[in-house]
């Protein structure tokens, strides 16, 4: 990149957004070229208020600095010229410059309060989605109990989870954390809410409809197959969508900057259809398949790879059945009991070379057993003792 690019690029970005109808917002986080409209009813209100504050600020700044500059030029020091007397007080002026800003501040406060209230309150008919934050992933559970298992790559970040919301419908997200404080931030929606380990918080919004005015993209049927590596997507017709990046905005540790997810806005009927298909294990699935589903739905994939690559946590490939070094110096054979302990009490034994970063993930007994079965299936080493899972016989060679 050349030096001129450094200077021109931001200007171009600004110019681009201005042509899109917004003065204040630069490039989009979605792929579509959509104007700066805030993307939700609440967001548009925030944008209007922000523009108001900015214009007040710019006028004040130009006034203050312009006057200073004028005085500096007009009254620069000249040798031998006596200074002029001038008043050190001017009561009407001083009252004016106290009262006028105060009026503007009062307007800003009330406007900000009303727009804030809109983002805190959702109607009783709102579609409710549960969002669970953990280091360093987001899990989404729809009102029908389905969990999102769609993993996409976005903006250079890998392994971001995607979830759906219905367009032009009141949506209420219920947020909770499994470990430390996170913050659920959708920049395009101009809003965020902190996520706590000891209480629920909420995030209410209603997106703009998927119309030409607000912009949208088409999802082609052939794209559906590629759409998300684990999507189980069977929707075969084209559908409209908009996509928005989700960030964690409260510092939460090593991989804070990679704790992103993708929110996809679709038509309400598409939402109903996809959510009913998405993200529930087949009732006839094997424990390994259920384990794979848990791996994605509960975001184990954020820290544990299955292809041998080291991540925040050890890879699951060839984890089972091998002996590993631990931070206390011991060497332990990773068998079922060890895996069970490591999932239920993450800090009990920590692998050498890794920090104790894992949160306690709530799992049912069935899910726990399935995950262990899945981990076992990823190992080429057959264990000497096999504890049968769910009464089924296990695969893998014998002793």
């Amino acid at each position: 990149m050349t030096l001129t690019n450094f200077i021109t690029a931001p200007m171009q970005m600004l110019a681009q957004t201005q042509s899109n109808g917004s003065v204040w917002y630069g490039p989009r986080h979605d792929d579509a070229a959509i104007g700066g409209v805030g993307h939700t009813q609440q967001g548009s209100e925030v944008e209007a208020l922000f523009a108001f504050i900015n214009w007040v600020s710019i006028v004040s700044l130009v006034l203050v600095c312009g006057l200073s500059l004028y005085f500096v030029v007009r009254y620069r020091r000249k040798a031998g010229v006596p200074i002029e007397r001038s008043p050190a007080h001017n009561a009407p002026l001083e009252v004016a410059w106290t009262v006028v800003p105060t009026i503007f501040l009062v307007i800003m406060f009330f406007w900000g309060f009303w727009a804030y209230a809109d983002g805190q309150i959702a109607g009783s008919d709102a579609e409710t989605i549960d969002v669970t934050a953990q280091k360093w992933n987001w899990d989404f559970q729809y009102s029908n109990g389905a969990l999102s298992t769609v993993i996409v790559d976005k903006g250079g970040f890998k392994e971001a989870k995607m979830f759906l919301v219905p367009a032009d419908t009141p949506v209420l997200l219920r947020l909770k954390s499994l470990d430390v404080i996170h913050s659920f931030f959708v920049p395009d929606f101009r809003m965020k809410s902190d996520v706590f380990p000891n209480r629920m918080t909420s995030y209410a919004f209603q997106t703009h409809p998927l119309t030409d005015e607000y912009g949208f993209r088409w999802n082609e049927p052939e794209q559906n197959k590629e759409q998300g590596r684990e999507g189980n997507v069977v929707w075969t017709t084209r559908y409209k969508y908009r996509e928005h990046v989700i960030f964690c905005a409260e510092y939460c540790g090593d991989a804070h900057s990679r704790m992103s997810a993708v929110l996809r806005v679709v038509e309400p009927e598409v939402y109903k259809e996809l959510v009913s298909q998405w993200s529930r294990p087949d009732p006839n699935a094997t424990p390994e398949e259920i384990g794979r589903w848990v791996y994605l739905a509960k975001s184990c994939n954020g820290c544990h790879s299955v292809d041998g690559k080291a991540n925040t946590g050890p890879t699951w490939q060839n984890l089972f059945g091998y002996e590993h070094q631990y931070t206390d110096g011991s060497t332990i054979l990773a068998d079922e009991n060890h895996l069970r302990e490591s999932i239920l009490i993450p800090g009990a034994k920590v692998r050498a070379g890794f920090a104790n970063q894992m949160s306690i993930i709530p799992l049912t007994d069935k899910e726990l057993n399935s995950v262990i079965a899945y981990i076992r299936s990823l190992s080429d080493k057959a264990p000497s003792t096999i504890i049968p899972s769910n009464g089924e016989s296990t695969e893998g060679g014998e002793g």
Partner: protein, 593 residues
């Protein structure tokens, strides 16, 4: 303003009685000098020692900032060839994994914040320039408790080294705010967090002792004839700061102690896993750390008032308004901590704190208007100190005005914890405190060391600092508005150009400071000897020699005029031909006071 017309000794400072020579005079040998400085109770020497210490930590924190910005030149990516971008610039620690790259960044980010806030900005102006000039400006021989003053310097240094010890132990990655439950979770090393937090606890005592010393000094040691409203505005500002230091610092002491108890003894105070409340920590933390913002900025405002009045040769416009707004800001400062928690506290609290926050804007705006009005009909000299003061009006106004969308609830929900906040507080902290300190250093350097600083060199430094600073942080407003969260070791692709723009700005900024460093060293060794009153100031410190006599003044000064009566008084040590006065007012006419 009261004027006591008492005749002063005509040849003050030059008779034998009470004249000891410059405070910088050597004791003969280097060891004698070291022992003399290490055991000194002279407020000027302690001020200089503070200055050296805070500038050293400013350099350390600045180095961290450059590392961070360089780190952000490229996003961290996990590619087929390994980890690219990000911390690969940190040659001393090439990351093996993408997690290690993030950890590198987070540790340096924590260090940058902790060093800059606790070791540089908080003690910055009051402990260095304040220590040196507060007694001089009120015509005192020293502060009220000189030994306590020296002790507080040692406590400060001990605390700072204690905190830095944690770097040798492997570093801390909690961010300078130490938010629980992350800072009390097992993911972060116990010993390191405890060391840093203990360092902050210890430095807090230094802050309290300095504040206490200044409050008593201002109350008890003003020269005869100096009423409260004859005090220079820098003294008002440092006095208001000292009040906050004494009242607010114990809270951070208790908070850090509770955090240490939680980590060491497992008592559940903040960690929900132990039955605590993590948001309680945020309340405690900001109950101190918001008033601390004013500990940082008020002294800088005082410096700017001095610089603008002296270099524009104008009675300051609205002296009382500026003095009272310092106190008003100090008072309201205690009521606004909740605006750091709009996204985490209850709705009612958020509304109340939003309203209270707007209250701070009013006295702050009044100060800025007063400074601009002071320029009107002045006689403005554009030297480095004045250029910094004028730059302050711009950068601090930007910082203040960009605070408005953060005080407004709805817009804050978007901007909170993004680069917009980073840019905003750098405009306030850097554009306010650092620019103010640079103005003060250039304003008072001749008095402190008896040498002039080369104007061409320091104006070059100023130009680079001003341009570099604005390039670095203006773009961060746009980044933040677009949703770039703060404390991110990496970012999505579309933020890349703007990050690179900002990084180049930071290099220009660093170059500017290196030129300033050169200018100061050049002045020390090759600078022209400074006259006692190079700018024609009227406050008492300009009556002392340059550098001042060991006992400040040969005689206890009598205050015979206000600090900014440029219309009526020829400055001490100055040729009346260089400072021509306007026609005296006709008898019976009302002056401007």
């Amino acid at each position: 303003m009261t004027t006591i017309d008492t005749s002063r000794p005509a040849d003050h400072g030059h008779d034998d009685h009470g004249h000891h020579g410059s405070y910088l005079k050597s004791r003969g040998s280097i060891w004698a000098d070291i022992i003399n400085w290490a055991t000194t109770v002279d407020h000027k020497k302690i001020g200089v020692m503070y200055l050296v210490a805070v500038l050293f930590f400013f350099f350390c924190g600045g180095l961290m900032a450059i590392l961070l910005r360089t780190d952000l030149l490229d996003p961290i990516r996990d590619t087929a060839t390994g980890v690219t971008g990000g911390s690969s610039f940190l040659v001393f620690n090439k990351p093996e994994s993408i997690g290690a790259a993030g950890q590198n960044y987070n540790r340096i980010m924590t260090l940058h914040g902790a060093i800059m806030v606790f070791m540089f900005i908080v003690p910055g102006i009051p402990a260095s320039l304040g220590n040196f000039f507060l007694p001089l400006m009120i015509g005192a021989k020293d502060v009220a408790f000189p030994k306590l003053n020296l002790f507080s310097w040692y406590v400060y240094l001990f605390g700072a080294l204690f905190a830095l010890w944690s770097v040798g132990m492997g570093g801390v990655e909690t961010g300078w705010t130490f938010y629980t439950p992350y800072s009390s979770s097992e993911a972060v090393d116990h010993a390191n967090v405890v060391l840093v937090v203990l360092g902050v606890f210890i430095m807090g005592f230094s802050s309290i002792m300095t504040g206490l010393n200044f409050v008593v000094t201002v109350h008890k040691l003003r020269a005869p004839g100096m009423g409260w409203f004859d005090m220079p505005l820098f003294v008002w500002a440092v006095y208001a700061t000292a009040l906050i230091q004494v009242l607010a610092t114990p809270v951070i002491g208790i908070t850090t102690l509770l955090l240490i108890f939680e980590r060491v003894f497992g008592i559940g105070i903040f960690d929900p896993a132990l039955g605590g409340d993590p948001v309680l920590f945020q309340h405690f933390f900001w109950f101190y750390s918001h008033p601390v913002v004013y500990i940082m900025i008020l002294p800088a405002m005082g410096v700017i008032s001095e610089c603008i009045a002296v270099h524009a040769r104008k009675p300051i416009f609205g002296y009382h308004a500026i003095a009272f707004s310092s106190l008003a800001i100090a008072g309201v400062a205690f009521l606004v901590w909740g605006h750091h928690l709009f996204t985490s506290e209850g709705e009612l609290a958020a509304v109340v704190f939003s309203a209270l926050t707007f209250l701070v804007a009013i006295p702050t705006a009044v100060k800025v208007f007063n400074w601009v009005s002071t320029l009107y009909k002045g006689s403005i000299a554009l030297n480095t100190a004045m250029l910094y003061a004028l730059a302050f009006i711009f950068t601090f106004s930007v910082g203040g005005l960009t605070g408005l969308p953060l005080a407004t609830l709805a817009t804050d929900l978007h901007l909170h914890d993004t680069y917009y906040v980073v840019a905003h507080f750098h405009y306030v902290m850097f554009g306010g405190m650092v620019i103010g300190m640079m103005a003060g250093l250039h304003h008072w350097w001749p008095k402190m060391f008896g040498k002039m600083v080369s104007e061409p060199i320091s104006i070059t430094g100023f130009a680079l600092v001003f341009i570099g600073f604005n390039l670095t942080f203006i773009i961060q407003f746009i980044l933040g508005v677009n949703g770039m969260p703060r404390r991110y070791a990496s970012y999505i692709d579309e933020f890349r150009q703007m990050h690179q723009f900002s990084t180049i700005g930071s290099w220009i900024l660093a170059l500017g400071f290196l030129i300033h460093l050169f200018a100061f060293l050049h002045s020390m060794f090759k600078g022209k000897p400074a006259p006692a009153n190079p700018w024609g100031g009227l406050t008492l410190e300009w009556e002392a020699d340059a550098p001042p006599d060991e006992h400040n003044f040969a005689h206890e000064p009598l205050v015979t005029h206000g600090p900014y009566d440029f219309d009526d008084v020829v400055p001490p040590h100055c040729d009346p031909a260089d400072f021509p006065l306007p026609e005296p007012l006709p008898a019976g006419a009302k002056g401007h006071h």
